[in-house]
């Protein structure tokens, strides 16, 4: 824990807070440019049966009669103190609505990440052991294939094969073990592509390093070389890549939940989109940004501790920023 590290950590933390606040403002702006007047169209919808006084009350309670800047200020100060406002449809706090569906989505996203990691490791480590003659090229083509298949297609294929044909799970019971597992597979396969690509690129790079050549000249076996020399340095950068895939996991769970009929944050988003429940949408999108920024912050802070070869660039000339960190990972992924 050197001084440079602490300054770096403090700077990164400050940046993260700024980005989160700006992300909230950004979503507020996008959501408030909605065409027409969805607020009154929701409230005056005869199906809801609000009387004029009730409508006036709700408008006053949500602060919808105030200027946009005042509304933004209220929303932002509520957001900072953890108050996400009230849903416009169900008249319940947004935080309760989200808390109800969050566990299901966390399970799905966690399982999806596990599947993605497992698959990526199988493919990437496999390229070290499958000889060129016996399909190494095929294995190397996997990440590109995974990237090209939309996750709703994987989900539908899994439902068709394992749900309809083999009868392993029922679509009616989406929280059963098998249904969750297959949903996680559908979510994880596209995510694994990025991780696998970075792993493969790193393994190739490490295998060409001098220390690997030295180890080989000492007569070390392929397996031993891999386990004790290549595995760790090649796998560490994955920490940063995993953090970057969090966004994809969140976005992907929206579709996966729809396909598998699960109740979760994704289905809540869908419901809020169709009913134009703006406070809920605003809250979920900005919470998505919070999760993404925090996970990346943790990854960035952890990484220098895990890999001592990484030097913190201190001084005023060049600060490491959020804009640098991901590009390290994606540059590797894009340009192996």
């Amino acid at each position: 824990m050197s001084n440079a590290y602490l300054t770096y950590a403090a700077k990164r933390l400050g940046q993260a807070v700024v980005v989160i606040l700006l992300a909230y403002v950004f979503t507020f702006v996008v959501v408030s440019i909605l065409p027409g007047d969805p607020i009154t169209s929701v409230l005056r919808n005869p199906q809801n049966g609000f009387s004029e006084e009730e409508i006036a009350e709700i408008i006053a309670a949500q602060g919808l009669d105030k200027p946009v800047l005042v509304q933004l200020w209220h929303a932002l100060s509520g957001f900072v103190t953890g108050d996400l406002g009230m849903s416009m449809r169900s008249n319940r706090p947004v935080s309760t609505l989200i808390a109800e569906v969050l566990p299901s989505t966390l399970i799905l996203a966690g399982a999806g990440l596990a599947v993605a990691l497992l698959l990526a490791m199988l493919v990437a480590y496999g390229t070290r052991f499958v000889p060129k003659k016996y399909g190494q090229g095929l294995l190397r083509g996997f990440p590109s294939l995974f990237l090209s298949v939309p996750n709703f297609v994987i989900g539908l294929v899994l439902i068709h094969l394992f749900g309809f044909q083999l009868g392993l799970f029922r679509v009616i019971n989406p929280d059963s073990f098998w249904a969750t597992l297959f949903a996680a597979v559908a979510l994880g396969i596209p995510v694994s592509s990025q991780i696998a690509e970075v792993l493969i690129a790193n393994l190739d790079k490490e295998a060409e390093q001098e220390y690997a050549a030295v180890a080989r000249s000492r007569g070390i076996g392929q397996l031993k070389l891999f386990v004790s020399h290549l595995l760790k340095p090649a796998s560490l950068p994955v920490v940063t890549v995993i953090a970057l895939t969090i966004g994809e996991l969140l976005g992907g769970s929206l579709i996966t939940e729809t396909v598998f009929g699960r109740t979760g944050v994704g289905s809540l988003v869908q419901r809020s989109v169709s009913t134009q429940d703006l406070p809920v949408l605003q809250a979920i999108v900005s919470l998505g940004a919070v999760v993404f920024v925090l996970v990346n912050l943790i990854a960035d802070l952890l990484y220098p501790l895990l890999d001592p070869r990484v030097k913190i660039l201190g001084g005023s000339k060049r600060r490491p920023t959020t804009s640098d960190e991901p590009s390290i990972g994606s540059a590797k992924a894009v340009n192996p």
Binding site: F152, V153, L281
Partner: protein, 282 residues
């Protein structure tokens, strides 16, 4: 010479010609796929005799056959015809998305990288904010804000790609700006504008091109996902994502999902293969 038959000679020649162009077989195949897709979207009526909207109710839910390559749907419409007619909107909307992402992202990256200073700081924060919102969620709220239509889904997808292109262009511009030949050009009296258009832009665009192609494939997928969720044009439009979404209610007749999914995947795979090839030949 007499032992070599005519056919092997011509195929050998063809291989030589391909080798001269340095186009691997898979890349040539990919270009063929893209050519078909473009043809489908430009002139769908030449590729099928059925109607994409009016079906024959007696022929509903038929399996794939010679007269109906991909089978028929629940209204007796020929699915192959629906896929062909849906190509234009699926593919051209992805193009719109890429153009938006590259133009706006490129402009931001160019200004940030070339001007530096406070412009760079402001744009860097903007890009951080855009990147912090999960891409697909960003596309969903943008399309919610501007309305459920395929063209709006394309705009939303483009908006979610701006940050990525801004970052890539910025780093390319900075890399080029520090190159010796730019310094030389500046010392021999080149103006900023001249350097920008003559040196920085061509160099940056060279590395942006493969990424734009890659983004084209990704945009097809994101727009298909948005259409799948019902945020694109409503039926009787036949965007690929929408076709898959309709098919999911008829899983007993799986070709309704598999056929449009197959076309989508093959198209995106081809686009990705071309992107990889462009990057390698660069």
């Amino acid at each position: 010479m007499s032992l070599v038959s005519n056919t092997s000679l011509t195929s050998g020649q063809r291989r030589d010609r391909l080798a001269a162009f340095r186009v691997p077989v898979t890349v040539a195949l990919s270009f063929a796929v893209i050519a078909i897709v473009i043809a489908w979207s430009l002139a769908p009526q030449f590729f099928t005799t059925h109607s994409p909207v009016v079906g024959v109710p007696a022929d509903k839910l038929l399996g794939p056959s010679l007269s109906h390559w991909f089978g028929t749907d629940h209204l007796g419409r020929d699915l192959y015809t629906r896929v062909v007619y849906g190509t234009a909107s699926s593919v051209s909307s992805a193009l719109v998305a890429v153009v938006i992402g590259v133009l706006f992202g490129g402009l931001i990256g160019l200004l940030a990288g070339f001007l530096g200073g406070w412009v760079d700081v402001v744009f860097a924060r903007l890009v951080d904010v855009l990147l912090s919102i999960p891409k697909f969620l960003l596309a969903v709220i943008v399309v919610t804000a501007i309305g459920f239509e395929t063209i709006n889904a394309a705009i939303a997808t483009g908006v979610s790609a701006i940050a990525f292109f801004a970052r890539v262009t910025r780093s390319e511009v900075i890399k080029t700006r520090q190159a010796t030949f730019v310094e030389a050009s500046f010392l021999s009296g080149g103006s900023r504008w001249y350097i920008l258009t003559r040196h920085v832009l061509p160099n940056a665009s060279r590395s942006v091109l493969p990424l734009a192609v890659l983004q084209f494939g990704e945009s097809i997928l994101i727009i298909a996902s948005l259409a799948f969720l019902g945020y694109g044009d409503p039926p009787p439009a036949s965007d690929w994502g929408l076709l898959i979404s309709i098919g999911k209610d008829y899983l007993k007749w799986p070709w309704l999902v598999y056929a449009p999914a197959f076309v989508t995947i093959v198209t995106v795979l081809s686009v990705n293969r071309i992107s990889r090839w462009l990057r390698k030949t660069d």
